[in-house]
Symmetry: C2
Subunit: 116 residues, 2 copies
């Protein structure tokens, strides 16, 4: 048992309560936009596990304020965090959030570990 997410056993195992569903839906909703999903994957897979905004804006056809907006949405959903270092702002993914969602999605193949 790496984690004890009593809030997030696989959803094939037991139904979600209203409160958990609301919190988790907020995270899924944040990932429900192509630009945000690509932002998340670019940050997660970037060298060192973090990326500055200047590494990201060039990858998209949308304006810089729009990227900034999407980064804020991801941050407010608890999926990423950021820090200013001098002139640049760096973003990184919060792995616990991804793990929480991943454990919710796991199906029978990998449920064995949750046989508490």
């Amino acid at each position: 048992m790496l984690q004890a997410p009593d809030c997030c056993s696989p959803m094939v195992r037991e139904p979600l309560g209203e409160a958990d569903a609301k919190a988790l839906a907020g995270m899924f909703k944040a990932m429900g936009d192509p630009v945000r999903l690509r932002l998340l994957s670019l940050i997660a897979s970037h060298e060192g596990g973090e990326a500055c905004v200047c590494d990201l804006t060039g990858e998209f056809d949308v304006s810089q304020p729009t990227i900034s907006h999407h980064l804020r949405v991801l941050r407010e959903a608890g999926l990423i965090d950021c820090e200013r270092r001098g002139t640049w702002v760096y973003y990184w993914v919060l792995p616990a959030a991804l793990d929480r969602l991943g454990s919710l999605l796991s199906t029978s193949a990998s449920v064995a570990t949750a046989s508490s």
Copy 2:
């Protein structure tokens, strides 16, 4: 909507392309509503792996047409499927879809299995 398991190595490993991001974001978006997320978990965890609409509507404070609408969104996103049997319509989760999303979210701990 075809399932290509090797299309989704973990996003901590390599960034998503535009096309994949669009397809996957559609699924996450469908899960980005509390009612739909609870519907999905109710169906997935229901006895026999499937549930008829009459098993679901009573669990929510929203009207039956709204439930029907959300079920349609989940179905068009490729997360569930349904079949009519006599008077009732039964819904079940498509495990391949959940696995696809789950593998995208997996972090370093479980990356070993993805031999893309």
